[in-house]
Amino acid sequence: MAERHRADLLISCLHGRYPELIPTLQEEIERRGLTGEVGVVEAGCRGLCAMGPVMLIKPGGLFYTNVQPADVPELVEETLIKGRAVERLAYKEPVTHQSVCYYEDIPFYSKQVRHVMHDCGMIDPQSIEEYIAVGGYQALSKALTTMTPKEIIEEVKKSGLRGRGGAGFSTGWKWEATRQSAGDVRYAIANGDEGDPGAFMNRSLMEGDPHAIIEGMVIGAYAIGNVRNAYIYVRDEYPLAVSNLNIALEQAREYGLLGEDILGTGFDLDIKVVRGAGAFVCGESSALMQSVEGKVGEPRPKHYHATERGLWGQPTALNNVETWANIPLIINKGAEWFASFGTENSKGTKTFCLAGQIQNTGLIEVPMGITLREVIYDIGGGIPGGRELKAVQTGGPSGGCIPASLLDLPVDYDSLVEAGSMMGSGGMIVMDDRTCMVDIARYFLEFLKEESCGKCSPCREGIRAMLEILTRITEGQGKMADLETLETLAKTVQTASLCGLGKSAPNPVISTLRHFRDEYVAHIEDKKCPAGVCKALIEYYIIEDKCLGCGLCRRKCPQGAISGEKKEVHVIDPALCIKCGICRDVCKFDAVGVR
């Protein structure tokens, strides 16, 4: 059993930056004679990546950000011995610069609805006792001992839970279809192959609360029937997720919650972790199953749904790890409770990763239907430097860009698709007015070009062709006819590709063309990049009125392209300038302009 302490220090979001933080804390606690009274736990993700490492002190809920080893003596002295908060380490409100000492008061958290991530960062993910202590495996026991498989499926259907991997297929229906497919052997798979750049929801969940996924899978396997083996597919770039999941699986086996005769009910199930090599396409269901089977991770035609012929040709229920982690909640609290969050057709909560030009980069969980405005301004703290929001990219590289004009769009499956994007697994990249949308489309296609498996010709060749056109446009070589070609190509790649990767690959192009066509036209006709990003189309210059002649830019310029006497207006020599933008970044007076 876990030891009981007067206080527990939960450390999260180390990001490998201060490996000595926890040992330093432990030494200090020992030195001050607090051993046995105060526990130190490395917990899972608290979501506030931008301010890590963070420390939550329980009970009480004191919350410190940016904790460094040097802060340890003061922290122990003030908080643990004298019982006072160290205000210096408290969360600072980005706009008002007010210090907020308590976890519940921080707007970043208070506006969120953390269900799936509730225990993430609150318990030690490597301890099954802590998971059980917060109510873990109750749902499993309830489902296996008091519910029939059909009742479980009905409950899940009634909850309105839809796949959290992005496509949004009803989980209950999927389970039912799998259950109804003939087969003595069926499989359940959890997809943890999160490959979108800037997305780490699944990773945080697998690292921070692995038992929730396992519990959901055992319940699902029981409900689907004839499932004796289940797999959790995790990319090998997530070593901590792999090890925490394996520890959790071992513990569950020890406790009789996995393996033969689970909880004495006669139900058998084993779950294995399968490590993927990190190909983006392996997040696609058919490619993922090929990979689990030990073959090259390559999509196969899906005229038969996986619920009919999936892994090794057997009926298979494949769900995102977040979907699985929602199951214990639904069983414990009921479908009505779950459905009370969200919108008409998108129920429950969803995790998102906030990245890009936003104050509070990190992981959040919000009810479906929340507006983008609330997410970005209330939870995310707005755009740094008071800049203007231009667009939000959702759904990963194959999602789309939603313009700032649609800021009041509710975040749910159907609204996002309508706006030309998609839910995806929950990446949300915020872009300010210094982002060029043509360049963004080019960037995502560059990523997709690398990650396309190359099996089918429209995706493989089409992405290359679109990328070449986009590159040409960003280099000022575009023609107006290119836009039409892009649209034709995008349409064919969308309709004729083999798998979801190809079918959604043109989304960045289609959505930017739809919402930001004028930027394309500016690149082509005026040979200008309005956001000042595309190097071939811009020129850096010194704004004479603002330049005080401090010489900082002159000293920092790697090319020696800036000249000027002290206290005189400086000049940039366009012939030498490589448009790296360092001068603009370093100028304290905003005296470097782009045109």
Binding site: A279, V281, V296, E298, R300, P301, H303, Y304, K449, E450, E451, S452, C453, G454, K455, C456, S457, P458, R460, E461, G462, I463, R464, A465, E468, T485, T488, L489, K491, T492, T495, A496, S497, L498
Partner: protein
């Protein structure tokens, strides 16, 4: 049975069929590049997309993978289908601008120029995966696979290195639709006797034979080779021929069998084999695909051959100059000294065929024109009139020029000086020679062979079809090089000799035969190996040698050789010979 509507027409599908199979069976044209009826559908090229309307929803789907479900409405040529195919073909043409198959398909959809040009216009592979799947599913060698991703995707063996796993079956080169795979033969060998180089393991050895039966070359057949290589571990490799043979005529278990027949006479008509011109390096045979033997020319020119009788170079062009070199391996102290007799006339015939079928200039390098038969000289004159250039003098050397042209050098004896001519194709009129296993046949029937290797007749003038072994006759080129009329005449003579013998029912043999005194025979078996007529056999149970009187010719070899003095030649016993010697000496 499912019912579908394809382009407005109602069609029926059997269980398990795909939309493509049903459409093609009913005459609808759908282009494909990655599809092969004997392989699992793959759905990579996406050219076979059609519009599928199901439950009111219309989508583009690949027909090669889509199951022909009941109630589907399929459109194979609707505007979205045509548009998507055109874009895909544009993309493929951009990848492989110089591949004829892609060029032709693209042209059908109105695309003449690659819309998105790439840096490397020499790319031929469209990554359809036919080779990979053939290697995996049929050959079961698993040598080829994909590496890398996306636009970098490549086909090749592991690490793109040479691998011993490759059995060199060539199946990948045959299925490749764009000719992107080349097999480099490290050991010429298995294809040596095939018409014009590598081909499938099933071939028709004699194109005009009736019935025209193909054979499986078990040395080249993937199934047999995989079986041998893995000692039966992969017993189910390939088998495509069996799958497609509608007559069910292919049986892999059939074995060669030995048939024993009791006969009264034997006619040996084992024929000849073509001499291999690679033995004399000056002819450069094997260094250019356009240096071929007369026999290969016959395969090429045959209406049932791979070019349907057209005379073409290896790259498919028509030749502009052809040289025919006589006496390759014949009348040559470095090969065969004899004249092969048939070459002059078949060379003239081939010259005539080249003139007849192409506009090529023909040069014949000959030493003497041996037009000895009826009408032959007249044919020689006719060929000369057709404009064939006759150069009297042995073609001495063939040189492969860097541009692929072939330079034939020789001496024009009439002009008395060295000449050369640059041509596109060289036909070597190679010698014929005794089959390589003639010695085994000779040993079997107790035949002797003349210096040239052919079987020796009993007497060159008086007994041209008989051999020294009673009841064994020779027919045709087994005895000596012959043309067709001579062979027919010779064979007719052999047949009548054999019939005459059989008609008698029994034969009178010479009384002068050897007998073994079994009391004296020590069973040393010396005589058995010496007997040229295989007339002596060893009787195990009695431990003695015994002479078959019907076979024995009374030559006396065994008599002289027997260490125990146990064999006597009847009528030529030692006593009789001594008496004869004494009688003769009495005259002196």
């Amino acid at each position: 049975m499912a019912t579908l509507i394809i382009d407005g027409q109602e069609v029926h599908a059997e269980e398990g069929q795909t939309v493509l199979e049903v459409a093609r069976a009913n005459g609808f044209e759908i282009p494909t590049l990655c599809y092969h009826p004997q392989l699992e559908p793959y759905g990579a090229c996406r050219l076979c997309i059609v519009e599928v309307i199901r439950r009111g929803r219309s989508r583009l789907e690949t027909s090669c993978t889509y199951p022909a479900r009941d109630g589907l409405v399929i459109k194979t040529k609707s505007p979205p289908v045509i548009e998507a195919r055109a874009v895909i073909l544009g993309l493929l043409l951009s990848r492989c601008p110089n591949v004829p198959v892609i060029q032709e398909l693209a042209l059908e959809y109105g695309i003449t120029e690659p819309p998105f040009p790439v840096e490397d216009p020499e790319e031929k592979c469209i990554l359809c995966g036919l080779c990979v799947r053939t290697c995996h599913e049929l050959v079961k060698a698993d040598v080829l696979n994909f590496s890398q991703r996306g636009i970098e995707r490549r086909v090749g063996p592991p690490f793109l290195e040479k691998t011993r796993q490759c059995i060199g079956c060539g199946a990948c080169t045959i299925v490749c639709p764009t000719g992107a795979i080349e097999i480099v033969l490290e050991q010429a060998g298995i294809y040596k006797e095939k018409p014009l180089g590598p081909t499938a393991a099933i071939w028709v050895p004699s194109l005009q034979a009736v019935p025209r039966v193909p054979v499986i070359d078990t040395d080249a057949c993937i199934r047999f080779r995989q079986n041998d290589r893995t000692e039966g571990e992969i017993a189910d490799a390939c088998g495509v021929c069996q799958m497609v043979c509608e007559a069910g005529a292919i049986n892999f278990d059939q074995q060669d069998e030995v048939v024993e027949v009791d006969v009264g006479t034997v006619i040996v008509a084992t024929g000849f084999q073509m001499w291999d011109p690679a033995q004399l390096s000056q002819y450069s045979y094997g260094k250019s695909p356009n240096i071929i033997t007369g026999m290969e020319f016959e395969h090429l020119s045959n209406a049932g051959g791979i070019t349907s009788g057209e005379i073409l170079l290896a790259d498919g062009r028509k030749p502009e100059q052809v040289a025919i070199i006589h006496c390759v391996g014949s009348r040559d102290h470095n090969a065969h000294e004899y004249c092969s007799r048939i070459c002059c006339m078949y060379s003239l015939k081939q010259a005539h065929l080249v003139r007849d079928k192409t506009d090529a200039a023909v040069y014949e390098f000959y030493m003497d024109m041996r037009a000895f038969g009826k009408g032959y000289e007249e044919f020689y004159e006719r060929v000369q009139e057709e404009g064939v250039v006759m150069i009297r003098g042995r073609g001495a050397e063939v040189e492969v020029l860097p541009d692929g042209k072939l330079r034939v050098k020789g001496e024009d004896a009439n002009l008395g000086r060295l000449v050369y001519v640059d041509v596109d194709m060289v036909v070597l009129s190679t010698a014929i020679e005794a089959p390589h296993d003639a010695n085994q046949v000779a040993a079997l029937f107790g035949l002797s062979r003349s210096v040239d290797g052919f079987f020796a007749e009993a007497h060159p003038k008086m007994r041209p079809v008989e051999t020294n072994t009673g009841g064994v006759f020779l027919a045709g080129a087994a005895q000596a090089p012959k043309d067709v009329p001579d062979t027919v005449a010779h064979a007719g003579a052999a047949a009548s000799m054999a019939l005459a013998l059989m008609d008698q029912g029994e034969v009178t043999i010479s009384p002068a035969v050897a007998v073994v005194d079994e009391e004296l025979c020590s069973g040393c078996k010396t005589c058995i190996s010496l007997c040229p007529y295989t007339a002596i056999s060893f009787i195990e149970e009695d431990n003695v040698a015994r002479v078959n009187e019907a076979l024995c010719k009374g030559c006396g070899t065994c008599v002289a050789a027997c260490p125990a003095g146990a064999i006597e030649a009847l009528h030529f016993t030692d006593e009789q010979i001594v008496a004869q010697i004494e009688g003769v000496l009495a005259w002196v």
